[in-house]
């Protein structure tokens, strides 16, 4: 599931964005997943229906790459070593490939909820029927 995010708030304020971007980049690199060749979206917990559905909707090549990254990271984690530096995930490659699909699914679900909770009013024209 997508986590609550302050990003939209920050993006609306250029001065804040300028101030926080270096900090965010530092945090991204310090978190350690890039050194194992992972992307941020690989870390999302997948034990729920939304993410499972999103994983099914991934294009075949992206799904394959994801499994490859996870297995490689697991192997290195077990052996307590990091990837050689040239294989680390580059910040520009660290794209939200899964969150966009998750958001779309959440939008669909929210729409369904809204429609379920709808109150129906009869048109004035048909009120007598």
């Amino acid at each position: 599931m997508s986590a609550p995010s302050l990003a939209p708030y920050v993006f609306k304020r250029p001065w804040l964005q300028r101030f926080l971007t270096p900090l965010a980049n530092w945090y991204g690199n310090a978190a350690g997943y890039r050194q194992l060749g992972l992307k941020a979206d690989d870390l999302l917990p997948e034990e729920n229906d939304t993410v499972l559905l999103a994983l099914k909707r991934l294009p075949a090549n992206e799904a394959y790459d994801r499994v490859f990254r996870l297995r490689r990271a697991l192997q290195h984690s077990m052996q307590h070593n990091l990837l050689p530096k040239n294989e680390w995930t580059k910040p520009e490659d660290d794209t939200p490939y899964l969150s966009s699909i998750i958001k779309e699914i959440e939008r669909e679900m929210a729409e369904r909820e809204d429609l379920e909770a709808m109150v129906i009013l009869k048109r004035a024209k048909n009120a007598g029927h």
Binding site: E108, R112, I120
Partner: protein
Amino acid sequence: MFSRTTACRGAQRAARTQAIRPAQRRGLAAPASGSFQYQSGEAKGVKFASRDFAGPTTTLALVSKAGTRYQPLPGLTEALQNFAFRSTDRRSTLRIVRESELLGAELNAYHTRENLVLEAKFLRDDLPYFVELFGEVAASTQYKPHAYTEEVLPLILFAHQRFLANPTERAVQSAHSLAFHRGLGTPTSSASTIPVTKYLSPEYIEEFSKLAYAKPNFAVVANGAEHSELSQWVNEFFDKVPAQATSEFGNLAGTEQTKYYGGEERQAYDGSNAMVIAFPGSSSFTGKFYKPEIAVLGSLLGGQSNIKWSSGFSLLGKAKATPFTQVNTTSAIYSDAGLLYTTITGEAENVAATAKTAVELIKKIAAGEISKEEIVKAKAAAKFKELENGQDIKAGLILTGDGLVNNNQAYQIDEVAKKIDSVTEEAVKSVAKSLLENKATVSAVGDLYVLPYASELGLNV
């Protein structure tokens, strides 16, 4: 002295009969009001036709020249049909469904050999909503990969399963492909034992939609809507639809003149038996090869009774092997060709016997050994069937839309009825003779040990 009234009585009576006669002479086809005919028009390049049939509901259809005949790759028509009313740029699938449910409407999409039809039935007041919806479906449906795998593909596979389990349908499809090969002969659903999803992908379907929903390739037809109103809304809501048919596929496939080939095919099938005997038929009235005598011959052969507890007047109805053998003769009409075919289903022995009888009957008709009365009955039945097309909303919508898209004229029912009236006994006889001289199409599905070959029936293939 004569009173004035007595003197004038004769004149009065004469005047009265004069006044009454036109009403009595009015044929079935002449409408009581002007609304029986479809009025056609064009708004910004979109062809439309409507008929203000009295009643509180409207049936609106978008008839597109994108049936299986015209698909560039196998299965595209079926896939596009299943993509109808799915998420568009403005609304999701769910919203479209819920909104039309709230309006009490019915949405439907289906395809025939030549047409892809989107259909909506709703209350008269909701016309603008549904014209807008059709415009949206045509212009801005999102062909998303996950919608294809999650929603469209399972429907195609189900339809394929259903097709494989239906020997009659298999025989009819096989007869069409024997008769017309490519183009019109393309099966309406995946007809091989493996589904044709090999050729399908959301990108291809999207490309095909640019052809199917291009302005020259579709028509909007309404039944029960005011012409001026429909014209106004069509004018407003079809702006985003492509004006020209351009796509990576080039243009629609299968547009060349259909040629009749004929031949024989036999498929082993366990369970039930079906046999189709087919001959070249008549094109639709709006097409170039219209032969009204084919329709008369079709209802003369017949097979199904229109009246309960009776075998009916039709020759096959009376001559079929057992009452449990189902026989039906159809004159399938397409824009530039047709197929007159008799379908026989039942026990293998009975199917074989009835098939032999059917060929004998055609020979009898060709030799003129059929009483005049039978032909009069057949003419009446054929005329009724045609006029019923006018009443039957679904058939009327497809025929009208098809006529508009292919031949630029709406299907006018009463003219067809007139043509059928003018069919002579001689014409039926000569058309039966020509059927036997040409190559026939025979396909048998079922117990091939019992079902006869075309040569055993006395047909040349």
